[in-house]
């Protein structure tokens, strides 16, 4: 019984830790399918986290905070799309600029509102839900009580994104753009429009992932609270083979290595080792697959 309870807790923690990475990784997957590498994902998550806290602070509701985060994500994604698609700037450089801008702007904004360096005041946090009756089952009941609605939302988003990418006209066109933009354009597909859409959706999802950290998992903003999860999402997308379900599974794997450390503290796995595993796995898989990697052919080439 105790073992079962431990497993349930481990799984729950895995899911909770995976949400921000998964959301961002799905976003990365969508935009990279269209051939756009957005290294600014880390910064967009950070701005989303801040947007959610500011929204929650002003309107007194974490739900409105989430909406503000989505709007922030779309706005920043729009800026990124404007720079790389319309003004033809280098994608990686703009991404790095965005990360620097976000690291600064979030702390400056928080200080101007709460007059504290690097940490905000507490705001409204998104509530949890319990499934009546099921939550009373011993042990397994933990899976049905006090859960964040975002766990379900994330699963739904992953399935929906996978469906759109694999089965709809939009998804197939996006993929064809990433493989051969010129051919797609010749076939009459509005390449720039589709790429803009992919960037906006990807940024919104990343911002939502950031918002999860600030108003769902906690109730305040802390300097650099995304802490590399954006880059981890980029790795998860690669490991997942550039598709939303793969991205979800890879994010779960990454989160699992973190959860193991928290759940079995007696193993004494150093923090750095559990954090390094995702990058080592991804690099090894990437090098192992080599030329056969399912990367879009024209990734980063506009």
């Amino acid at each position: 019984m105790e073992l079962l309870s431990t497993i349930v807790n481990l799984l729950l923690m895995t899911f909770r830790l995976s949400i921000p990475i998964t959301l961002a990784a799905i976003g990365v997957s969508i935009s990279e399918r269209s051939g756009v590498i957005n290294l600014g994902i880390e910064g967009i998550m950070l701005l989303g986290a801040m947007g959610a806290v500011v929204g929650s602070h002003i309107f007194g509701s974490a739900l409105v905070g989430l909406i503000v985060a989505l709007i922030t994500g779309v706005a920043v994604g729009g800026l990124y799309a404007l720079c790389v698609l319309y003004f033809k700037a280098n994608q990686s450089v703009i991404g790095i600029g965005l990360n620097s801008l976000a690291a600064g702007l979030t702390v400056v904004t928080v200080k101007s509102i709460w007059n504290k360096e690097g940490i905000s005041g507490t705001v409204d946090q998104l509530g949890t839900f319990s499934v009546p009756l099921l939550d009373r089952i011993p042990v397994v009941g933990a899976m049905f009580s006090d859960q964040s609605p975002l766990i379900l939302a994330t699963l739904f988003i992953a399935l929906f994104a996978a469906y759109v990418m694999a089965k709809t006209k939009i998804g197939l066109r996006l993929t064809s753009i990433g493989e051969h933009p010129l051919a797609a354009a010749t076939a009459g597909i509005p390449v720039t429009k589709y790429r803009t859409l992919a960037i906006l959706v990807g940024s919104a999802l990343a911002a939502l992932g950031g918002a999860y950290l600030s108003v769902v998992h906690s109730n305040l903003f802390v300097n650099n609270m995304v802490a590399g999860r954006g880059f981890m999402a980029i790795a998860a997308n690669i490991l997942g083979g550039w598709n939303p379900i793969g991205a979800l599974l890879a994010s779960l794997l990454f989160a699992f290595t973190q959860a193991l450390r928290f759940q079995f503290s007696y193993i004494q796995m150093p923090e750095q080792i559990s954090q390094i595993i995702p990058y080592v796995i991804t690099l090894l898989v990437l090098v192992g697959i080599g030329r056969k990697a399912k990367s879009p052919a024209k990734l980063g080439v506009l």
Binding site: I37, L39, C83, F87, K88, A89, N90, Q91, S92, V93, I94, I96, G97, L98, N99, S100, L101, A102, A103, G104, L105, V107, V108, T109, V110, K111, S112, N115, E117, G118, N223, G228, F231, I234, A235, I238, P270, Q272, I273, Q275, I276, Y279, V280, T282, L283, L286, V287, G290, R291, A293, S295, K298, L299, G300, V301, L302
Partner: protein
């Protein structure tokens, strides 16, 4: 426009027009941040005065600015070198961690067992070799497997940072220290300061010397010519007799060695020890430095002093005007975005002209 043809089109090509655009981009960023500060209820004029005082207002301020500029010169050269060869080295952060760490470990292991003339160069060389390996690996994977160098570099950045962090926290931590850092380097190995009571050391001269070497390589050597040929047109360079795979690996290895020097001289100069997580994104800032400096040594030095000054002055700004000291990252981010988007500045000018 892709990563491959960065050097030809994205601002790393010297002419007066792009210098003019760079200056405009910097100006636009400062004005924009002034408006942001105004909107948040700060006085931008006072804030910028404080920024200037903190970065160039006194001998101490200038030495602080230069101290911050030194690692930025190294990473600027590193990114600039890779760009000339048509590659994008976003892995500077990992290379400087692995380089700084390796040289610190070798220096601590050697201790005073060898005369200083051997032990100091040996330690520094060890770090550079580690940086070369870390950078060369990216080149090798790119050349042999055609895997995007940006993706590989991201992984290697985290692996380097976490690996060094692991060793410092678990095996090499200075006894009784609260912060994760190694023991202080043997006394003679710490570079002497140039300005008393500052952290500005003779590493400044080494950075400037590397700028001369960089200039010389591209101006007067066959290797420099081959690197540029590879960057301009890889297939033509291949046909012309450049071994493209080998040169790609070599370019990234040299770039990695240059980036590792940023970490090495933070260890031997500024801090006198290896501190876990000592770099506030120096490797990434190097990309901005190389772009703003258009890949030229003079440009890289000027850009490094600009960003070094921003970092030095931001503290003062925070103390004096209540603005968060992180405002420098906002300015830096905007400068990067605007410099990388010359077409936007062109668009602005064009509209005004009508």
């Amino acid at each position: 426009m892709g990563i491959r043809n960065v050097p030809a089109k994205a601002g790393v090509g010297k002419n007066w027009e792009s210098l003019w655009y760079s200056l405009l981009a910097i100006g636009v960023s400062f004005v924009l941040v002034a408006f942001i500060m105004l909107a948040m209820g700060y006085n931008p004029l006072n804030a910028y005065m404080a920024l200037f005082r903190g970065s160039f207002g006194s001998l101490y301020a200038i030495s602080l600015t230069l101290c911050r500029s030194v690692p930025l010169i190294f990473v600027g050269l590193a990114v600039g070198f890779a760009l000339k060869g048509g590659m994008f080295n976003i892995g500077g952060e990992g290379q400087l961690y692995i380089g700084g760490f390796t040289s610190a470990v070798v220096a601590l292991a050697l201790g005073n067992s060898l005369p200083l003339v051997f032990s100091l160069p040996l330690s520094i060389l060890a770090g550079m070799v580690a940086g070369m390996a870390w950078g060369g690996a990216i080149g090798l994977i790119k050349a042999k497997l055609q895997i995007n160098e940006v993706i590989v570099a991201i992984m290697l950045n985290y692996i380097a940072q976490l690996l060094t962090s692991y060793f410092v926290n678990n095996h090499l931590m200075k006894e009784g220290s609260m912060t994760p850092q190694t023991e202080t380097l043997p006394a003679g190995m710490q570079l002497p300061t140039i300005v008393a009571n500052s952290q500005l050391t003779t590493s400044l001269y080494i950075a400037l010397f590397m700028c001369v070497v960089y200039w010389f390589v591209f101006r007067h050597t066959v290797f420099g010519y081959e690197v540029k040929a590879l960057g301009n047109n890889p297939s033509a360079a291949g046909t012309g007799g450049v071994h493209t795979v080998w040169t790609t690996v070599l370019v990234m290895a040299v770039s990695g060695a240059l980036a590792s020097m940023a970490g090495i001289f933070e260890v031997f100069g500024t801090y006198g020890r290896f501190i876990d997580g000592f770099s506030p994104g120096i490797g990434f800032t190097g990309i901005a430095i190389a772009f703003i400096g258009q890949g030229t040594p003079i440009g890289i030095i000027l850009a490094a002093v600009l960003f070094g000054g921003l970092q030095a002055g931001a503290m003062q700004m925070g103390l004096m005007e209540g603005v968060s000291a992180h405002i420098d990252k906002v300015i830096q981010g905007l400068v990067i975005i605007f410099i990388a988007t010359p077409n936007f500045i062109r668009y602005l000018l064009h509209r005004k002209g009508r």
